[in-house]
Symmetry: C2
Subunit: 575 residues, 2 copies
């Protein structure tokens, strides 16, 4: 993927459509960050991504990571690229200046990581959890731990991991068995085994800071007995801690990222945050982490689209309808439909993701409590939608882009199949997409009877919705209300239809996003230029091929809700 | 995949639902093949697949094929398995007894190949084109060629390839440049380069029979100037022909099958069939070949379903709604929905595919011209639908099954990611799924103004459709008619909506298939047993989660047709 190829689009969305600089400049920490500075940062970021990271994508996949007696060797060039990355200050873009960061708005970091994922998903896994670890240490660690680790993690001089999953405890962290036993000196002995640890061991940095979920000896069972421990690979005195990488996984894709099985053998660690409140300490950064995964989806889909549209502009096969001679395949309607549909998701997805990133900063820094609450509501409700819908589209859309290549798409040479393989994981990690849907519907929407979602829908910024859009929003509110009632007699109901519900919300939000893009275009046809016409085919593709799914989802929801109203417990199996 | 696990299901569908033995016994060549014989054959086939082919699936993927100076080494065990396969007579199941075959109905061969693909897609590519080559040689080759090659290909002692694609000619065979120059002795010198040749070179058999599309010196340009040549790897005198494998492709999956770049360097070949009618000679076997790819889709999806449902029956995570303790994941609605939905496609798809296989035999062997014509119409219209819809579902459904495993699905260990990678190719080869949709809508349905499809829909066998099913069939007929009219003013229209049209047809056909399954069940609830209840969850999943897509597709079709009626040529870009 070429980040530079997206710069003008992203500037247009940030500046003209979302008026992002005006909005972040209303927040004290970013008052001095004007649009020009942001544009400069993005320009430099694009150069870095295109020159240092993108060239390692294919070789990273082919060479992969190598495990050798506890050591992990990343593919050639990965270490140099990472060293250049942190030394140039990129990891600390949105960290506080006091911690060694640049103090820039979160949305700029989001654009950077969208590009990085599109350019080289495997490499990007390494710094992917860094900002979360930074926030976690900053807000929960003791002063002593902060003194030792905060700046190293903020700047990215040391990388960080999240050690959550165990072999028997994947989606269900309540089953975690790793133990942390406090010692007289204030440290803890950590024992246990963790799996699926991205970057658990590697040669990119001199130290690795592990944040480990484990149980104190007296902890209650379940998720409320989990505490968080900081366990470094190398201790302050330079000795190696008892943290061992046992092996790395063979995976479908993401070969540039070592997915490690880690064993903690009386490792030395320190409690971060309160006892038994380890999940809280991690969940504060969950919205940002999930948003980043959604942005990975956008980056990967953009990468797939760039490859497919370049191929479609060169390859000739068959005559397009009405053509006299063999046509470029970009002239065939089936190909145009595939390409425009991906743009409908990428462009609309960017508006939603960047708007959400702005809300993250508003929720943190606004001086207006009502504004903070509204921003928090947006982030809580919209983040799972973006995580699930954008990663789903990344995989399925990348597969559609592979189809543009015909048989050539299935061979490695063109690189498109790598994107499909790499993209698949984002539907799983950071909470599977099914869990995102349950989080949205059960934990968030139904928890307040749908009031939060209703309030969000009526307060969507921008001009009044079109009559058709308004009808869809009302349909969603009405379905939410009947769902809440029906779920009382059929508690399984929300779990059957959570995916449909999430998709319906995603489509209403995307419709809003496309309305914002449309509102920023010149009103008179004669003012349209190549640059503004750029947005027309995806806008039409959204209306024509994407949005009709809303009716499909509401049909399924309504039918299943009707069934729930007839529900009798003795006939519980519903499909 | 375990073929044995599907035996009872398939017997039920063939015998009780489709009454297949009665139907094939009405055709002269199969009068003596009763249900018991067929059951024995399938029983033996299942044993062979499970014991000889399935165990090589994972090792075949991991080891892959190795290219070494023009030679191709298949993975360990592949040659022995193939030798056992042909020596037991499996390739010739439905070849004529006069040619060394067993003379059994096509549907039994279809079940065998469905299983083979599910058990080991890579290995199955080797014999996958054998039956087509057999038909091609049988119906088009000269008596001398037949004497030399027919029985060897019928029995599978020698394997065969189809050499169609060239680097610049993929979907567009009219651009083929390979040349065949007739020689005084009746042979031809073949020169050119072909790509994507499955099994172009290997160590499974002593000889390989290539069927090569090429141009005679005086041939007209385009597809009407293509002739077919038989070019063996080893000539009759035992010398090696000038056919060279230049390399094999690195692919997303299907590593057990060598995908070869083949060079013909003054190779000796012989014309098969008439000059310039090479495509006709290949197209006679196209319906059978495409049906086989659809069956691969079923086999792969069954394989994914078996893995996911076994995992879901063992893995415990989180409490299902209403449960007091951690549940098996098969009790979570989101998982049940995924599993039942795949069964809805597999079971319904089997009814359609097996019915189509029966029609292939009716079209060939019925003594009633009207019956033959109706069977030919069924095969022409339904085959592209099955090829596209079932391979699409194989990939997307396998991906859904991968999701059941969470993070474990993304690592190689469980084998589910291999199925996703392997399945992806079936959406591309034997005509991409987009080309299937255009074949259906443009070349077949609209070519006669929709009359053939209308006749097929009103003559669907079995009881009268439910009112809802009848409404859907009428909607499809009405859409076809307006589409035919609208296409006159907007020739691009069918090319934009061909995919939606194919999906709508697929869903109406699947609805018919599920009605057949339902009609074969006991009518009174008290007669239901575990065996009959087996069909209830997928029947409900079909109605609840799958069939609603019909309305989505018709909405998209109607909107785009309405737009076409407003079409003016100067505003041609429609999305």
């Amino acid at each position: 993927m070429q980040a530079r190829q997206t710069l003008a689009d992203i500037q247009h969305l940030l500046t003209t459509v979302l008026k992002a600089p005006t909005r972040w400049q209303g927040l004290a920490p970013f008052a001095d960050t004007d649009g020009d500075l942001a544009a400069q940062v993005l320009d430099e970021a694009a150069k870095f991504v295109d020159s240092a990271i993108a060239p390692l994508q294919r070789s990273g996949d082919e060479e992969g990571c190598r495990f050798d007696g506890g050591q992990v060797h990343t593919p050639a060039g990965f270490r140099d690229a990472y060293q250049a990355f942190w030394q140039a200050g990129w990891p600390s873009l949105s960290c506080a200046p006091d911690d060694g960061g640049q103090g820039l708005p979160a949305v700029l970091e989001c654009v950077l990581f969208e590009w990085l994922a599109g350019a080289n998903h495997g490499w990007t896994m390494a710094p992917g959890l860094l900002h979360g670890a930074y926030e976690c240490i900053k807000h929960h660690a003791s002063a002593e731990l902060k003194a030792q680790y905060l700046e190293k993690v903020a700047t990215g001089e040391w990388l960080a991991t999240m050690c959550l999953t165990e072999a028997h405890a994947g989606s269900d962290l309540g089953m975690v068995r790793t133990r942390g036993v406090p010692q007289p000196d204030g440290s803890a002995r950590v024992n246990g085994s963790k799996i699926f640890i991205s970057g658990g061991e590697h040669d990119l940095t001199d130290n690795i800071v592990h944040l480990v979920l484990a149980r104190l000896p007296d902890a209650p069972a379940g998720p409320k007995g989990l505490s968080l421990f900081l366990v470094p690979k190398v201790l302050a005195d330079g000795t190696r801690n008892a943290v061992v990488c046992e092996r790395i996984e063979e995976k479908m894709g993401l070969h540039g990222s070592p997915t490690c099985v880690m064993r903690f053998d009386d490792a030395t660690g320190w409690l971060v945050g309160e006892r038994n409140k380890g999940l809280n300490a991690m969940f504060v950064m969950m919205n940002a982490a999930r948003l980043h995964v959604g942005l990975q989806g956008i980056g990967l889909l953009e990468a797939a689209w760039q490859k497919a549209s370049a191929y479609a502009a060169e390859r000739r096969q068959m005559r397009a309808p009405g053509a006299k001679d063999t046509s470029l395949i970009q002239d065939h309607p089936a190909i145009r439909r595939i390409l425009h549909t991906q743009r409908a998701w990428i462009d609309g997805g960017r508006v939603l993701a960047y708007h959400t990133a702005l809300q993250l900063d508003v929720a943190k820094h606004s001086t207006d409590a009502g504004e903070r609450a509204a921003a928090q509501r947006w982030c809580a409700l919209v983040t799972p939608v973006l995580k699930a819908a954008l990663t789903d589209q990344a995989f399925h859309g990348a597969s559609a882009c592979l189809q543009v290549f015909g048989g050539h798409g299935y061979v490695r040479e063109w690189g498109i199949e790598q994107i499909v393989r790499d993209a698949r994981v984002a539907m799983i990690y950071e909470g599977t997409n099914e869990i995102q849907a349950i989080d949205l519907l059960v934990r968030k929407v139904l928890a307040d009877g749908g009031q939060g979602l209703g309030a969000l829908l009526v307060s969507l910024p921008g001009a009044a919705p079109s009559p058709a859009a308004s009808t869809r929003r009302h349909a969603l509110v009405e379905i939410t209300q009947t769902l809440a009632i029906a779920a009382q007699s059929d508690p399984e109901l929300p779990y059957w239809v959570a995916d449909d519900y999430l998709r319906a919300v995603a489509l209403v939000l995307l419709e809003w996003a496309w309305a914002q893009i449309g509102a920023a275009r010149p009103h008179r046809a004669e003012q349209s230029t190549a640059a503004t016409d750029r947005w027309t085919p995806p806008a039409q593709a959204f209306a024509q091929w994407v949005l009709p799914e809303f009716d499909l989802r509401t049909t399924i929801l309504r039918q299943r809700i009707a069934q729930a109203f007839e529900f009798r417990p003795q006939e519980a199996e519903s499909a």
